[in-house]
């Protein structure tokens, strides 16, 4: 009734309340990492695919439980490391033996032996940068807004709670019904979280 009444008023479209607020998903709140893992495995068997777990510390085996693919970070790091290695050789060879030849104590203008520390350092430097920045990129950091934090107990994930979100994008997402399912899996408090 209310909506039809609003529809008849001459107010702009964007001020009208949305009929159905889009949801981020249903989030459950578990006591222990074991219960969290069990819930994830059960939901995976039930066919859920879009899930995300939030915990205060890394839980061994959670990536496999969630069906996460291997992180591509390793490949990013090795690429940067090889670039660093090649760059160090090129830098020392070009500055020492090409651009500005300087004879120091009769040593060769370019030799591999004294170049190795720089090769090592640049390899490590670029690999470390790639690891940190690549991690930021893959984690989509910085993200200024994330709907997960609309969950009333989101703070528990950085203290002593183990949270599991079944996202609305999941084809098997059923809204309110999922709360009952999560509760039956041991969740202390399940909530339909707004986007």
């Amino acid at each position: 009734m209310a909506t039809s009444f609003l529809d008849n008023l001459p107010i702009p479209e964007f001020l009208k309340p949305r009929e159905e607020a889009p949801h981020y998903g249903v989030v459950g709140d578990f006591d222990t990492p074991e219960e969290l893992l069990r819930a994830i495995r059960t939901l995976r068997v039930a066919g859920f695919t879009k899930m995300e777990a939030y915990s205060p510390f890394p839980i061994h085996g959670i990536d496999e439980a969630l069906g996460e693919p291997r992180s591509p970070l390793g490949r990013i790091v090795i690429t940067a490391a090889v670039v660093g290695l090649a760059g160090a050789v090129a830098l020392q060879w070009w500055t020492g033996a090409v651009d500005y030849k300087l004879n120091v104590a009769g040593k060769p203008l370019f030799a591999l032996e004294p170049s190795v520390p720089i090769m090592f350092e640049l390899t490590v430097l670029l690999a470390a940068f790639a690891a940190v920045l690549g991690m930021f990129y893959l984690n989509r950091m910085p993200t200024y807004y994330h709907a997960f934090f609309n969950f009333s107990r989101a703070g528990g994930a950085s203290n002593d709670r183990f949270l599991l979100a079944v996202e609305a994008a999941d084809p098997k997402f059923r809204g309110e019904e999922l709360k009952t399912l999560l509760d039956s899996l041991g969740s202390r408090h399940s909530e339909l979280v707004e986007a």
């Binding site: 893992l37 032996e113 190795v116 520390p117």
Partner: protein, 399 residues
């Protein structure tokens, strides 16, 4: 993380008949090895002592590596390594045997060490070092360092064995307290014996890096031995579930890391000497690049570092048991080559050479070590069954 995988259990005990059969096989090899070594000593003492020195260094470096690693596991409170720790402890427990294996060396000092010969007293440089480099002190230092290492090895082993029955957490804490001074003693002690046994072959030359190189090579060889032992036990149906792919992955990472660490310290020594370019320092490498020794040096650069560096980098290689077995075996060979290349150019001055006694002495010392190692498993478990972290280790997972 004690999670809920259904864990299949392994048999932790080797049946007595199987145990005795393996013991007899090792004993047979040991007897053959020692007969050969004694025959060599009787007929050609000079070659015998040179070969024996390398064989002794190879064996004891592995035992020292084991002691180092066991103490590190206690100090870090590692859970991942619990199922392999008893094998490590059994290797560490071979250290007292080296009190006996060391005994022949002082008899052959004149063959090996220039400073022990009559001419040293007249040499202007060596006569200054004779207060340290003399037969009595060499012998005392050797026995003292092996004795201290043995003491720690026996104490830590006894604690772990006691825990098999009692499961007392107190023993874990007490092992931690022993390990901290133990690691310090081990670093100082193995540096001293590294200087004495290898570096003093060239008594005018010195490098403060030498002790670390000896320890790093030994620790790497120890890790290779552990991998080979686990795989050997596995192929006979032991430790199939308790040492799984996750554990092999970590052992592989350690093997890789210690191989790189050896290369790091070895190269540090080489680069400083290359850069300073002083004759009294470069002579050590000059002697080791003479003739065909150069190819041995290049083999070490490629085989002890560059090839395994790239080949062992991928995760899949460290998780593949076949590949891991290959690289463990290869790096053991490289460790022997490394020691051979450090020691033997003093004897074979013009190029690579090898006596039939080198493999024979190696068989003798390694099989003796093997006998002591295997004696730890006579009706005793293959894993520390009373360790409070055992459950955690069985469920261990690489992140």
């Amino acid at each position: 993380m004690a999670h809920t995988h259904s864990q299949e259990t392994d048999a932790y005990f080797v049946p007595l008949r199987t145990w005795a059969a393996v013991r007899n096989a090792i004993l047979f090899v040991a007897v053959l090895g020692w007969i050969g070594a004694l025959a060599g000593y009787a007929t050609d003492p000079e070659h015998f002592f040179w070969s024996y020195l390398v064989a002794f260094l190879f064996s004891i470096s592995i035992a020292i590596g084991a002691a180092f690693f066991v103490m590190v596991q206690h100090l870090t409170g590692s859970a991942w390594s619990v199922t392999v720790r008893r094998l490590m402890e059994a290797l560490m427990r071979t250290l007292p045997a080296f009190l006996v294996l060391f005994a022949p060396l002082p008899l052959g000092l004149h063959y090996l060490y220039e400073w022990s010969r009559a001419g040293a007293a007249k040499d202007p440089l060596l006569k200054l070092k004779i207060g340290y480099l003399n037969e009595q002190w060499f012998t005392i230092r050797g026995f003292l360092v092996i004795g201290l290492l043995s003491l720690w090895a026996l104490v830590l082993y006894a604690k772990s064995r006691k825990q098999d029955d009692s499961g007392a957490v107190r023993l874990t804490l007490s092992a931690e307290r022993w390990s901290a001074p133990g690691v310090l003693m081990l670093f100082v002690g193995s540096s001293i014996v590294g200087f004495d046994w290898i570096m003093s072959l060239n008594p005018r030359w010195y490098s403060t890096m030498f002790g670390v190189i000896f320890l790093a090579g030994g620790a790497m060889a120890f890790m290779a031995v552990i991998i080979v032992l686990c795989l050997w036990l596995r192929s006979n149906g032991y430790l199939v579930h308790s040492v799984n792919t996750e554990h092999y992955h970590d052992l592989g990472k350690w093997l890789f890391m210690l191989m790189v660490f050896w290369a790091y310290v070895s190269f540090s020594q080489y680069m400083l000497i290359w850069y300073a370019n002083m004759p009294e320092e470069t002579i050590w490498f000059k002697n080791r690049f003479t003739g065909s020794w150069l190819y041995v040096a290049l083999l070490l650069v490629a085989g002890h570092f560059i090839v395994p560096l790239f080949a062992m980098l991928p995760r899949a290689v460290k998780r593949s048991r076949g590949a891991l077995a290959f690289f463990a075996g290869w790096l053991l060979l490289m460790h022997y080559t490394d020691l051979y290349w450090q020691v033997m150019p003093v004897f074979y001055k013009s190029g690579f050479g090898m006596s039939w006694l080198s493999p024979v002495c190696l068989v003798a010392t390694v099989s003796t070590m093997g006998l002591v190692f295997w004696s730890s498993f006579r009706e005793k478990p293959l894993v520390p069954v009373g360790d409070p972290r055992l459950k955690q280790c069985l469920a261990f997972h690489n992140a």
